[in-house]
Structures are given as structure tokens and as C-alpha cells.
């Protein structure tokens, strides 16, 4: 049974719109949960209580006046601290950015969430400058896994995973360059959507790798994910990469049957370097969907390599001047990777971008015969905080660099993915539901069907 602590966004919005709960009560409940639990989870870096209460009161006033309210009326949400929030310095997980002038205007996606009635309650912890898969942060401390607080939340949107997995808020926003929505979703046992590259505006968010940066939502149900995603769609001239396609609502399609979809399991690269729990999770999802066909994704290892090269070099370019002027104010691990990235010869970057086109064409061929690919989101459940190495495929490898090996070849060409949580014991783990470009509706539909079958669910937090 849904408890008040774990009310979904759609529960809250319908209770608020139906006058069974005020937006202010929903907001106060979220603020109280944050106050009670965030000292342990460390998901939040800023709490915007005054702003949230003012917004909630305005919604309640609209309802009292008989005005129509949006589909997210009274729903508390929070954002990774690389989103501009008016009045706050946009930290992007760093010490250096704390010196920035406070943002004058909210990020586009915050404006759209609030236009739909959602209530921003704060900004969230993240790995420094988004160059991270762990959720650890040397400046603010790690965001912690809500199912075992000695473990990683996943990164780089670690606070987003921790806040939604810990049921502090029903929806959070994050970014995903190489897996930073899908990895925390997997470790924290929640739903996450990385849309098609260019689908959601990145305007007024702090970048990492312009070629690969995406923004998207986290939630505790597929319905909430669709609600937030639909509210945020639409062209935006303030983001050069944002599509001019019109809004394509997914919520009305969510309950459509999935029996007509051609669903396959990604083979080869995606079936290697997996712990038993990742194999179990893929097996459960594939069985529930009746998927037996295995499709090879050609050159996925090379795609991951190319994504790595593009990330380290574009990231280095972005931070070049900060590396010169304030090298000691970076997390040393991030600094050393970025300096190395600045030293990669330019022809390798050009070839990585050209390979990207070749690889995209190969995947376009794959999607002529399938509608959905299933792949692991992470090789394992959440590692211990501070864990340096793990044994992957019989080889001892660094955790930090290898958590995203199964997500990188997918975001590399911008395919839409819903990460769904398989509630294994003792820890959940995610599976990627991957669709063709612009078919977020299909990935969300499959996620919804799996949830209705009871195969995927956001488990109640039990770590605190």
C-alpha cells in the first residue's frame, strides 16, 4: 500500500487538484522528510523552502479561485545542482562554481515543471562537474544510497537518485552524459528517463560535454516519469541542440499493450562483464516481456571508447581556464582526468565523432527489425562508498571508470532509454529499455507494462 511518505507525483497532483490535500501540505511534508532524513542521505545542497511555500500557496489560491491547475499541481521536486535556480550559484558539484554570481533565471526545465504546477524544494548533490559515476563528492560529501547508506548512490546525479530513492521527493531532475541518470536509477532502485539527444532543453544548465549532454527526470513510477517528461517537452531557442519537433505526449499512450512490440535482448558486449545480479535482472525483464531474440550491437566497445575520448576532451576544453587558474580547487581525481583530456591529440577526437556517425547508422539498421533493446544499466548493484576496484569478467578494474560501460554506448548516439528498477534483494538494480530516436513513448510504455506485471518497482527505502 502506498504510504504518505511514498505518495507518487500523480497521487499528490490528483489529491491537490481534488482538494483532498493542499499544495502547501504536500510541500511541508516533503520539507519535513528532507529535514528528517537528509542529514543521513546528504542528497540536498540547497533547500528552497521559502520559494516552495510561496509557490504552493499560489497553487492553493488558484484552486480556491476555481482556476485550472497543471498536471503536477503541488508536486514537490528537486534538481541536480547544475540546473540554474534563480538566486543560487550554480555549483555543478564544484567548489569553484560556488563563487559564481547567483543565477538570474531558472533553467528552462524548472520553468516548465513549475508551469505544470510542480513545486521546487531544492538543489541536489552531484559528482564534481558531472565527471563521475559514483555520487561521491569531495567538497560536500557523498550522497548515500537509500537502501544501504554505506553504499554509493551512483553518479553523477547522485543526489537525484538518493532523494527519489529515499522518497524525500517523488520527482527529481538530473543530467546524463554517459549514464548519469541511468546509473543512479539502477543503484537507488528508481525509474529514470534519458530522452533522445536534443529532446529536452538544456538551457540554463551547466554543461559537461556538449556533444553528449542530456537532461531528464527520475521518479518512483513510470507514470510519474511520463508526467514530468510530458511537462518538459517542447522546442527552446535557448538550447542550440534542442529539437524543433512539437510536443509528443506519452502519458495517453502509456497503457497501450506491448504485445505488438518487437523486443530483443542486446547481445555480445552487453552480455559481458556482468555480476550475477545484472544477469538475473535482465533475465526477469526479458522473460516477463517474452523476449528471447538476442541482437548483436556492432562495435559497442569501440562506441564506449569513442564516448570516453569525446567526454574527456570536450570536458577538458570546457574547464581549461579553471584548470589553469584554480587547479587546487578541483577534486584531484577530476582535475587529473581533465588535464589528461586536454592532452589527447585532436585527430583522435575527430575520428571519434566520425565513428559516431558510422555507429548511429548501424543502430538505425538494428531498429528496422526491433522496437526495443534490453540491456543492463550497471554491471552490479551499488558498490560500497570509497570502493576503488571490482572484479569484472575476471579482471580487477577501477570501479569509477567502469560503472557506466553498458550505458555509454547508448547515450553516445543519443538513443532514448528508460532505466527500470528490478527490486532484487538485498539491493535493486536497473535494466535499460532502449528505443529508436524520438520513441520515448515506446520505452515508457514497456516500463509501465513491466511495473503493472510487478516485475519492476521502486522498493521502499530501508537503509535509514
Amino acid at each position: 500500500m502506498t504510504t504518505k511518505r511514498e505518495m507518487t507525483a500523480s497521487d499528490i497532483a490528483s489529491a491537490v487538484a481534488g482538494r483532498k490535500m493542499s499544495a502547501l501540505d504536500a510541500t511541508e511534508a516533503a520539507l519535513a522528510r528532507i529535514k528528517q532524513h537528509d542529514a543521513i542521505l546528504n542528497a540536498f545542497t540547497d533547500i528552497t523552502a521559502d520559494r516552495a511555500r510561496a509557490k504552493a500557496r499560489a497553487i492553493d489560491a488558484d484552486i480556491a479561485a476555481g482556476k485550472t491547475v497543471g498536471p503536477l499541481a503541488g508536486v514537490p521536486f528537486a534538481v541536480k545542482n547544475l540546473f540554474d535556480v534563480a538566486g543560487l550559484a550554480t555549483r555543478a558539484g564544484s567548489k569553484i562554481n560556488r563563487d559564481r554570481v547567483p543565477a538570474m533565471r531558472d533553467a528552462t526545465l524548472i520553468e516548465r515543471m513549475e508551469a505544470a504546477g510542480a513545486v521546487l524544494v531544492g538543489a541536489l548533490n552531484m559528482g564534481e562537474y558531472a565527471y563521475d559515476f559514483t555520487g561521491e563528492n569531495v567538497h560536500h560529501g557523498p550522497s548515500r544510497n537509500p537502501h544501504d547508506t554505506t553504499r554509493m548512490s551512483g553518479g553523477s546525479s547522485g543526489g537525484s537518485g538518493s532523494a527519489v530513492g529515499g522518497a524525500l521527493v517523488p520527482i527529481a531532475l538530473g543530467s546524463d552524459t554517459n549514464g548519469s541518470i541511468r546509473v543512479p536509477s539502477s543503484f537507488c532502485g528508481i525509474f529514470g528517463l534519458k530522452p533522445t539527444y536534443g529532446r529536452l532543453s538544456r538551457a540554463r544548465s551547466f554543461p559537461f560535454v556538449a556533444s553528449l549532454d542530456h537532461l531528464g527526470p527520475f521518479a518512483r513510477s513510470a507514470t510519474d516519469l511520463a508526467l514530468a517528461y510530458d511537462a518538459m517537452q517542447g522546442p527552446d531557442a535557448d538550447d542550440a541542440a534542442c529539437t524543433t519537433r512539437g510536443i509528443e505526449p506519452t502519458l495517453p499512450l502509456l497503457a497501450n499493450p506491448v504485445s505488438d512490440l518487437r523486443i530483443a535482448i542486446a547481445g555480445g558486449y552487453f552480455q559481458q562483464n556482468l555480476f550475477p545480479e545484472a544477469v538475473e535482472a535482465i533475465g526477469r525483464v526479458a522473460k516477463a516481456l517474452g523476449a528471447t531474440r538476442v541482437v548483436d550491437v556492432p562495435e559497442a566497445a569501440r562506441a564506449r571508447a569513442a564516448a570516453y575520448v569525446i567526454s574527456t576532451t570536450e570536458g577538458a576544453s570546457l574547464h581549461l581556464d579553471r584548470l589553469r587558474k584554480r587547479p587546487n580547487d578541483f577534486d584531484p581525481a577530476v582535475r587529473d582526468r581533465l588535464i589528461a583530456g586536454a592532452m589527447v591529440p585532436a585527430p583522435l577526437v575527430d575520428r571519434a565523432q566520425k565513428f559516431r556517425r558510422w555507429y548511429r547508422a548501424q543502430l538505425a539498421e538494428v531498429f528496422k527489425s526491433v522496437d526495443v533493446l534490453l540491456a543492463p544499466a550497471t554491471p552490479c548493484t551499488a558498490p560500497k562508498l570509497g570502493q576503488v576496484n571490482f572484479n569484472l569478467g575476471g579482471v580487477e578494474l577501477p570501479v569509477r571508470a567502469n560503472i557506466g560501460i553498458h550505458t555509454q554506448p547508448i547515450s553516445f548516439i543519443g538513443l532514448p532509454v528508460v532505466a527500470v528498477p528490478v527490486p532484487l534483494e538485498p539491493l535493486p538494480i536497473g535494466v535499460q529499455i532502449i528505443a529508436a530516436p524520438w520513441r520515448e513513448d515506446i520505452a515508457l510504455r514497456v516500463a509501465y507494462a513491466l511495473e503493472k506485471m510487478g516485475v519492476v518497482a521502486a522498493p521502499s527505502p530501508k537503509g535509514f
Binding site: Y197, R245, A301, R304, A340, M343, K354, R357, W358, P437
Partner: protein, 59 residues
């Protein structure tokens, strides 16, 4: 003893005016080795001369 990449690291850090303290050098070298190894994996894949870089999904 100098490592094979050290001269290269010195030259590029000078060209880009990037500071590289001695204490950072082993980690920078290790990261650069990974980047170059992965870069070689991309480099050795033959592509037609006409290949355009980077797709962006459009309407």
C-alpha cells in the same frame, strides 16, 4: 626515471599553459594512457574519407 609519456606531458602542458605539479603527474599519465589506448581503438577502425562527424538527431 622518466616515463615514456613524460616528455609529451611536459610539452603539451607548456603549449597550453597548464600547470602539472610533480605530485599530479602519475595520475595524469595514467589517465592519459587510458585515453590514448581507447583513442587507438577508435583510430584503428577504418572509415570512408567522406564520413561526416557527429550525428545530431533532427526532424
Amino acid at each position: 626515471m622518466a616515463e615514456p609519456l613524460d616528455d609529451y606531458i611536459d610539452a603539451v602542458s607548456q603549449a597550453l599553459a597548464l600547470p602539472v605539479e610533480d605530485a599530479w603527474r602519475p595520475a595524469i599519465r595514467a589517465n592519459l594512457e587510458v585515453s590514448l589506448r581507447l583513442g587507438r581503438l577508435v583510430d584503428e577502425f577504418a572509415l570512408p574519407d567522406e564520413t561526416e562527424p557527429a550525428p545530431v538527431f533532427t526532424v
